[in-house]
Symmetry: C2
Subunit: 328 residues, 2 copies
């Protein structure tokens, strides 16, 4: 893509999982990339995620809740990939205010700063399939009712809609991608705070049993991070995307027990066990979920390219080599 | 209704339009009523709204954004009618942070306080039809997609969903009513900040022309405040309502030009004129809107009883007598 060559790009959550992979792709396309990350230890940022290309971009450590820093950093940028967020569903229930501040309040600050001093910017916002809640039907398309099951889902939705509203009312071009489970090198694997797949990888490498909740029959779809990055780039490059929401997803749908089985079968050892749902997890469980991603396929030409087994193999290989940078 | 006799009731926004009318009804049913109101001059609170029964309840002036005051006041209450809100759509666009703080952040504080020290409380939350945005179809039922057209709609929705979430996850009984245009004695008439009908009443009494935007053909439905109060009381009394959202509405649908005409025809003089939409209004205009309120009719037995002409007549009579308490 020539879209991003020579362009000024800001990525919030830029030292995080998806942000750092996106940064690598953009640097490779000749973009001038600035990463914003709070590096809050419990969140997804990790300086090692940009190891090998850190000298080709700018890192600015600050919190998206800092409106002055954000207003300054947004000046002169052509694109904002707005990926920073509080992503833990459990944390959003135990500390709802922090979730609100990051996922809604800070988003409003960012958009207000754009409105005031950089209305020509294009924004791609990373949203989540979590806000559909427990599906009425499968696969879930963008017309599915919104029904968040946790504080995180409510606040992410507010953040998403602020973006669409600023597109519609002020003409600040913005769109949102509702990400499904994304995995790959760079994800937080120290614990289950970002994605359960993270802790599964760690447990596998540590030869501890993976714990699958309930009967393990819950269906999910997964995107390898390179596919997710491709979708972000396509959405940023397309004016057809402005004001729209797109699901990401995969047609390779799998039960969690089968997923655990696949991970164990990759040849790096490990095992899994079925355990009863912890009550605080059960309360916000959504049962089966997988996406209909035909809208982004039809409009932006995106389809996921990396198969699940291949992606998991790459992921395991990465963490086998680099796990010292991800947990003690 | 015997439900509320002897019960401890808290009403946020209690000196406002709907809150004060609800308070009158509850005091009449023998409830122990405490009103919370910030009395921010630009908002809807007015001490005159409880003239004649102020000695039969408790007024506590504080802001719902004060989490300590709210946590204290919520203790020991049987019912919370949670009506406080920033209601101006224009203000939500010029000062989105304040709207977020009141309509989302403070709601989360209130619910957290209930979770911590009064999980047995029953909450009725006043939401708004504004969050449906520009209707896909009419009349708009509760299954209609949510599509807020302003910051207020997004934040009100977050506030509404926090309530439903705390009902679903923590068992704190809560429901929400999505109010349509409500009018009657006690509404803010000084300006158009609360409802356009307010300023229309003032203009009529001052013999100034009412300004109807655009062609005046936009359809709306209206509820007289007594009907709205009745719905709040029914929702509070019903456990079937818990976790649910209900539209209010009226089957007496009218165009805004015809409404202006009706108001002029009431016999108190005045006139109206069609004026072009101010651009900032046009940007968030939703075209025609009226509600399908069959869900609350079927489940809670609510139907509006006061006809539009009768309600407007009562409203005009009230402000003709008491306007000195509502504007200088």
């Amino acid at each position: 893509m020539k879209t991003y060559h020579g362009k000024q790009i800001l990525i919030t959550g830029g030292l995080g999982f998806i942000g750092s992979n996106l940064a690598r792709a953009l640097v490779g396309q000749g973009a001038h990339v600035t990463l914003v990350d709070s590096l809050i230890p419990q969140y997804g940022g990790n300086p090692f995620n940009i190891d090998g290309f850190a000298d080709r971009l700018t890192v600015n450590v600050c919190d998206v809740r800092d409106p002055f820093a954000m207003a300054y950093l947004l000046q002169g940028k052509d694109y904002l990939f707005n990926l920073a967020g509080q992503t833990s569903h459990m944390d959003s229930m135990t500390d709802p205010k922090t979730d609100l501040d990051i996922n809604a309040n800070a988003q409003l600050s960012i958009l207000e700063a754009c409105r005031e001093s950089n209305p020509g910017i294009k924004i791609v916002f990373a949203s989540t399939r979590q806000l559909y809640g427990k599906p009425d039907y499968l696969p879930v398309d963008e017309k599915h009712p919104i029904r968040p099951v946790d504080v995180n889902g409510i606040n992410k939705l507010a953040g998403e809609w602020y973006h669409l509203l600023y597109n519609n009312v002020y003409g600040i071009r913005a769109c949102a991608l509702r990400l499904t489970n994304t995995y790959g090198p760079g994800m937080r694997v120290k614990d289950a705070r970002q994605t359960f797949l993270g802790i599964w990888v760690r447990l596998l490498i540590e030869n501890q049993p993976i714990k699958v909740f309930g009967d393990g029959l819950q269906l999910r779809d997964f995107n390898y991070v390179d596919d997710c990055v491709e979708a972000l780039l396509l959405a940023g490059a397309s004016n057809e995307a402005n004001g729209k929401v797109y699901n990401l997803g995969s047609s390779e749908v799998i039960g969690l027990k089968d997923l655990a089985d696949m991970m164990v079968s990759l040849g790096h050892g490990g095992r899994f066990e079925l355990v009863p749902f912890p009550p605080e997890r059960k309360a916000i469980d959504i049962g089966d979920y997988y996406s209909d991603f035909s809208l982004i396929s039809n409009e932006l030409g995106w389809t996921p390219k990396v198969g699940l087994r291949e992606g998991l193999q790459k992921t395991m290989a990465y963490y086998l080599a680099h796990h010292a940078h991800y947990w003690d």
